[in-house]
Amino acid sequence: MTSWAVGDELLPRTDPPLTVTDFVRYQGASGDMNPVHHDQQAAEAVGYDRPLAVGMLAAGRLATYLTDVFGPRAVRTVEVRFSASAWPGDALTYSARVVDVVAKDGGRELTVEAVCTTPQGDVHVGGTARFHLD
């Protein structure tokens, strides 16, 4: 069992560039069929040059970037905030840091701050998650 401490950082990960197919796959899985994420005409109708990324896709990848390390059974809360838009072709980078470790319910509760950034370095999704470890 890894002994996590405040200040520990996870190895950052950069995914392949986003594609509209990624958006469609996530939208089908989640049931959010908002056309601005896959339909060029719908995107242009509301002022975008092209379909914009689904925020919950990066939020989902940010959460699994963490649960791949701490375990899916350990997660207790995930809170995300959406900031800069992302677009097809953007290779998003995920990084995270342990910000708190406390004893709780016979184990430890870790608080982790995580961020998904665009190739320009803007925050696309920022979040906080809590994990219960034995």
Partner: protein
Amino acid sequence: MTGSGGAYRFPIEEGKVQEFVSAVGARHPDHQGRDAVVPATFLMASAWWRPPEEFALRGMDLTRVLHASQEFTYIGEPPRAGTELTVDTRIERQWTSSSGELHFTTVLDEFRDGHRVVASARMTVVIREEAS
């Protein structure tokens, strides 16, 4: 626009879990098998089971709605494939920015396994008033 307060079923199916696991690129082995643990943001897929009249944002032009924030809370471990949850959805709060341009809505979904609440999801969206 306010939900009627009715509840609806949310069966957690193995195939749907795998579809979601693939979409978000989850790699942990606990996501595999008949009793796969759902990914941390999987509760979004309850949208597939939500009756139209329970959609808290109905009537809004969704192409102009932006997702501002999202929270998931689990009481204990996240649910597994093979479980059937019941969802209660309601608008928790609506407010307008001091400038009057941004209209926020927070929707709270509570997920029950029988009578026990096992998880919740809180979504905040924003609509910007169009410049005239």
